[in-house]
Symmetry: C2
């Protein structure tokens, strides 16, 4: 895309460009209200050569915009702490809310190309990285985000002059580093690398726009024109990405109706095994901390199935400095205004840590599906999106363990009644619990579909038979122990 | 406090302690609902020697608690990025919401004592640090927070045995570092340093509890007893800190009635000066980025005074990668549930960056005062709390500039009517604006008191006469330029 690019095709004079830009800026500012009404979130991604004018372009784009309406973020190379999370986490973190615009001074491109060139990513890892990025951008687009991707292009002479100019002034000299000089020296090598990235990530729902940035006024106008036209088009109709066809490696589970719920554990055995498991888990937690393995444990299940008590027993074996229990309730206003996976990406554990999700992203294909909080297309697409999400975590070395805590309808009734009768437990039972109970059959259908479509070899579901809570607690601990021992063995 | 401490005074057996602990843990869990009803936020701070069992103590304390109810946070030495903010920011960030408990595995003590011992803080800086910490803890207590501070104490023999034990196992060996060994070797020196810190920060509203941590079971019980008793006492009545008497170095401003509003700037002069200021500001922004100076600019003023346009002109001169405009609206639910300064502490600029607050913490002494959103005691205390806050920022090298954008009541009426008549501007005028206008006199009294009490030499207020908006814009830019030039000169 870059190698056959023609510079200097814009014939307008500088004065013409400036006059047109002034008009265009006002038009951009005029879009604010429409964007908010349409609840369209926009990410404007500025990539390009060193000294190609990314900051200048953003400054020009935002000149007339209301600060309540946009954010500018400069993305640097990841810090050592950021490297302890999956690559995409720090890019998911700042995604804008519906109706807002985020300007990124380099996003995920520069960091990836550089890591590859430095040899920190192998060929295969780089291929994988490009795929992760395409999935990320596709998921955002499918979730209603508009991605405007600009690449600012200059030739090596222009770059050299600019670097020299910056270096000559002590207040701007800090902006020029060794890497910039190296890029200028190896311009052709970087051109090929950029070209490969741009081609691999040029999709109809997130196309690249290459901008001749030799002349500031012309480039500013071209950028404003492109951003304006893309937003206008999206206000008419957001491009819908193709949904890929997948053949996930499944680790099938039983349909709920076939799960035998008569398993029990006597008090004495329970005490004994609990103690043994606690000891074993504490040791494994130390080991995984040392080996910097991150772990995600998901709990889903019927109301009153005993999730809370199960989590408490598991957690009590762990060092509190190395795990977190994340209770997932209805999304907040801020969360609702963003991609549905955002609140989970931002809560992922770093290496060596365990995150226990008390309910999770599977809300999408259960409560959100059944209560109509998302469209049919949304929850149907979610099975693959969730598998993509968990695959990404797994590929980055995270252990993903998922529990469905199972009881039958009669057991639930008994427990609901017990709660209602006990003043200390009354707050644990609400009108909503009774309403959900009425929808038991619809939920069971949804859960069975969820288990069938998202139990993969890299993130399998486990059923915890929890009519006898003691049995379920020990079973959960044993499954976690086994999964951790398995991953330790492989390292 | 440590040197005269007697070890081994607890005569109960291990079995007795364990039995009592079991009861106490259930009682702690039983407090959850009462805490939530009382909306009491609690910070439990664990400090102590290396290998004194801080993690173990937390694990024991949380054993029966509902994960929705508390958080555990391990605070490490600050990262290079964290060091780019004022010291207290990273400790303000995680403060709990009303009704929640935060357990801190070391808070602000360890980092401060270590920095002093390493020579990173001079004697004077350390004194200043202790004062900052006392102000921080007092402000939290005055804001309704309960601080439970525990110091786990062991003697040098006990410490040595534990370090040896940890080092012997490869899964725990990583927990023992050079600093721990050094501490054991220089036990007496560290004892004196800890003692000094504990004595300096032992206040009636945030007292220290020294716990003999030689024996795990006894220490766990003592910690649970103390936390339980402190929470129970606070549920009865939170200790009210003494409010200090201050003599702030004031930089007085005129009462609003005396501000002459006839200042104007002709269009031609405006264009010329705007251009000059923009150029100058851009250069200064580069320089302050290079010199890593953080800047806070506060805008307050009447509705329709022209804050938005003023901010836009100032911001357009700056590199968007180095500043942020922060529009402050009514607090969210999360913000309301915390200390009122929390949402500002968390938004402070890092070194080299500029944060422009479009409205600010001064809401406390204006809208919150007049609408009764806080108690009389709250807003009266706030003048000093805000001065303390800005002094802390200033002492850490931040430039603090505050603008009051002033118009008269007639000008406001004209602008309100213009907005009402113009379809493109109608959304900028609301019922609330008219209601606020009705309270003009009460606001004027509040603003005058605010200007008189919070215009300090380290964070002065500047009046921007904005009947002629062009005049006000150029004046704002000139004041920023002057303040930045002043600080550059001093460095």
């Amino acid at each position: 895309m870059l190698s056959d690019f023609s510079f200097h095709t814009e014939r307008r004079t500088e004065a013409e460009c400036k006059a047109l830009l002034k008009v265009r800026r006002k038009e951009l500012a005029g879009l604010q209200q429409r964007l908010e009404q349409a609840k369209l979130p926009v990410i404007v991604l500025l990539e390009g050569w060193s000294a190609s004018g990314k900051g200048r372009t953003i400054q020009s784009l935002i000149r007339e915009l209301d600060p309540r309406f946009f954010k500018v973020l400069t993305v640097n190379d990841p810090t050592p702490t950021e490297l302890r999370w999956p690559f995409l986490k720090r890019h998911f973190d700042p995604i804008p809310a519906a109706g807002k615009v985020l300007f990124l001074d380099t996003g995920w491109m520069e960091e990836s190309v550089r890591a590859y060139q430095r040899g920190e990513l192998s060929d295969k890892e780089y291929e994988k990285r490009l795929e992760s990025i395409n999935i990320f951008e596709r998921q955002l687009a499918a979730g209603g985000y508009l991605l405007v991707k600009l690449f600012l292009h200059i030739d090596p002479q222009c770059q050299k002059e600019r670097l020299d100019h910056l270096a000559a002034d002590k207040d701007t000299a800090w902006r020029v580093n060794e890497a910039d000089r190296r890029q200028n020296k190896n311009y052709d090598r970087d051109l090929a690398a950029f070209d490969r990235y741009l081609s691999a990530t040029n999709k109809p729902w997130a196309p690249w726009k290459i901008i001749d940035s030799t002349d500031a006024a012309k480039a500013n106008l071209a950028a404003a024109d492109w951003v304006y036209s893309q937003i206008c088009a999206a206000l008419e109709a957001c491009p819908v990405p193709e949904h890929p066809e997948y053949h996930w490696p499944l680790a099938p589970t039983l349909p709920l109706a076939q799960v035998a719920l008569d398993k029990t554990l006597a008090e004495k055995d329970y005490r004994k095994q609990l103690k043994k498991c606690r000891k074993k888990l504490a040791d494994l937690h130390n080991e995984l901390y040392r080996r910097k393995i991150p772990v995600v444990i998901v709990y889903e299940g019927w109301d009153a199935a005993g999730k809370g008590g199960n989590i408490k027993r598991l957690a009590s074996a762990l060092d509190p400095r190395g795990y977190e229990v994340l209770p997932i309730a209805a999304p907040t206003k801020d969360e609702l205004a963003r991609h549905y996976l955002w609140r989970f990406w931002t809560r992922l554990p770093k290496t060596g840590h365990i995150a226990i999700f008390d309910r999770s992203w599977y809300g999408r294909v259960m409560v959100e599906r059944l209560e109509g909080f998302c469209t049919t297309d949304d929850w149907q697409r979610a099975y693959d999106e969730i598998n993509e999400f968990e695959k990404e975590l797994s590929d980055e070395g995270m252990v993903v363990i998922k529990f469905w805590v199972q009881i039958d309808k009669d057991t639930q009734l008994t427990r609901f009644n017990e709660r209602q009768a006990d003043p200390a437990k009354q707050r644990k039972i609400t009108e909503e619990d009774w309403r959900n109970r009425d929808k038991w059959d619809a939920y069971e259908t949804a859960v069975n579909e969820m288990l069938a479509r998202t139990s993969t070899t890299f993130a399998p579901w486990h059923i915890l038979e929890s009519v006898d809570k003691k049995y379920a607690r020990v079973k959960a601990m044993k499954i976690v122990i086994e999964a951790l021992e398995e991953v330790m063995k492989q390292l």
